[in-house]
Every structure is written in C-alpha cells, then in structure tokens.
C-alpha cells in the first residue's frame, strides 16, 4: 500500500541515512530531481544536494532524532522530531561551540513512487541559537 511504502521510506531515511550515515541509500529513497524548498547555503540541487545536506547536518550535530509523529496522507508525509546532539561543526555561519543542543522541527515531504520528491520544513532555530550562546559569527 502506498501509505505504508511512503512511511517506510521516511522511517528508513531517519534511521539509516540521518541516523547511521548511509548516504548511498538515498539513491533508493529519493528521486534524482529531489527538490528542497529549504536548501542550506551551498547545498546544490537534487538528490546529490540532499546527500550534502545530510552529511552537513550529521557533522554539525551528531544528531539523534526522536520522532514524535509520522503523519502520512496520500503522497505527503509530516515528521515532527526533536533533535539532540552536540554542535560539532560550522552550521549556518556559527562556528562549533561543542555545546549540547536540543530543538524541534517538522519536515514535510511529498513522495513520488515511494520516494522522497520535495521537502519543506520549519525548525526551531531560535532554540538552537539560544543554546549555543547567541551570535558567535565566523
């Protein structure tokens, strides 16, 4: 069933790609022309851009995502999570602080043939900036 296929793809993305760093799995889980509406600076286009994004987030936070909700509606999925980690590499202009961080976000994906096709999100960056002690710009 499409709903379950979509849910499984998203759960594998969080567990195996973001969690375990298996970037190659994205060839299976995301379409080549993946469209990110909230791309990080320098992310680049498509699935290759998504690989760069995941690598950057993993390096920046060594993240652990606790998933509160995975809501699947036809070809769209919403995921509400709390990220816990350590701010270990540059992220959005902030030099690593080595501080423990914890903040919430919701990702929204549209799916095509069981694969991630487009992405939007809202992340509580205000919590992140407060936890790392405010502006320590490069």
């Amino acid at each position: 069933m499409t709903l379950e296929r979509n849910r499984t793809s998203i759960l594998r993305f969080f567990r195996d790609v973001i969690g375990a760093g298996n970037l190659d799995l994205l060839d299976e889980l995301a379409v080549a022309d993946y469209e990110d509406h909230v791309a990080l600076p320098g992310q680049g286009r498509g699935r290759e851009g998504l690989k760069l994004r995941v690598a950057k987030i993993r390096a920046a936070f060594q993240p652990r995502h606790e998933l509160h909700d995975v809501i699947v509606d036809a070809d769209r999925v919403a995921v509400h999570w709390t990220l816990s980690g350590v701010h270990s590499a540059e992220f959005l202009g902030l030099t690593p602080t080595r501080k423990q961080v914890e903040f919430d976000g919701v990702d929204i994906y549209t799916m095509r043939d069981g694969r991630m096709a487009a992405h939007w999100n809202v992340v509580d960056m205000w919590a992140f900036y407060r936890q790392v002690g405010g502006p320590t710009h490069i």
């Binding site: 809501i71 919403a78 202009g93 939007w120 205000w126 502006p135 710009h137």
Partner: protein, 143 residues
C-alpha cells in the same frame, strides 16, 4: 470524522477564529479539556486557555494565514502555514514595533470526537524576532 472532515474543521479554526476573531466558534470546534503542549508563558489549559492564546495572538499581531500543507492521518492533522503580519500590539512582552514579517510554522493538531483536543507547534520564532528587529540576523544565515 473522516480525515477530510478533520481538515475542514481546522480550516474553520484558521479562518473563522484566528483570522476573523470569532471566539465563540471555539466552543463548537474544540474540546473543553483542550491540551496545549506549547503554551505561551502564564497561559492556562482547556478551552479558556485556547481563548487566551487566540486573544494574545490577535491583540499583538494582525496577520493573514496561507495554509500551504494540510496532512491528515487518523485524528492527527499537520498544518504548515505561512503568515504575513504586522506586530500591532504588545506580544509576549515585546512592545509594539509596527514591523511586518513573513514566517512559517507547523501546527500538529490531535482531534478527538471531531473536535480539536491537543496541540503542538514549531514556529520560526527566530525569523520572527529578526524581522521585528529584536535580534540581529547572523551572517551566513538566511533571515
């Protein structure tokens, strides 16, 4: 209630309550024991807490919502919205700035028996505060 009906009920919340200020509608669309998981400081729970929240939002901010995504499964509905607004009054301790902003947020609503029962949210407060001029935009970060 079907997922379509749940989405319809939430459209009423954004249009009739948040946009038009019809607080009486809350009695029809929300439960008396409504639970807010991200309450504003000092706010209570239940229907009264929800009225308080809507009042705080509408007194401080004049805003227009665009519902970009409504995603429903069972009794849960996620709503990603864009709001274009102006801070016209005191809001969460901030004196009125008169400044305008465009931000996004996601509400997660849990319904029960066809009414709003619980709520969580993630809102781009950082973008909001930057656009109000309350905090500086960091170099390298998108405002």
């Amino acid at each position: 209630m079907s997922e379509t009906e749940n989405k319809q009920l939430l459209r009423r919340y954004y249009e009739e309550v948040l946009t038009q200020g019809r607080l009486d509608v809350l009695e029809t669309i929300a439960r008396a024991d409504y639970v807010e998981h991200n309450p504003f400081p000092g706010h209570g729970q239940g229907l009264e807490g929800l009225r308080q929240r809507v009042n705080t939002l509408r007194t401080g901010l004049k805003q227009q919502f665009t519902l970009e995504h409504l995603i429903a499964e069972g009794d849960k509905v996620a709503v990603l919205w864009t709001t274009r607004g102006t801070q016209v009054g005191e809001f969460l301790g901030l004196p009125p700035t008169g400044k305008s902003y465009t931000i996004q947020g996601v509400d997660i609503h849990q319904l029960r028996d066809g009414r709003m029962a619980e709520h969580w949210d993630v809102v781009d407060m950082y973008g909001f505060l930057i656009q109000l001029g309350v905090v500086p935009a960091p170099s390298g970060a998108p405002a």
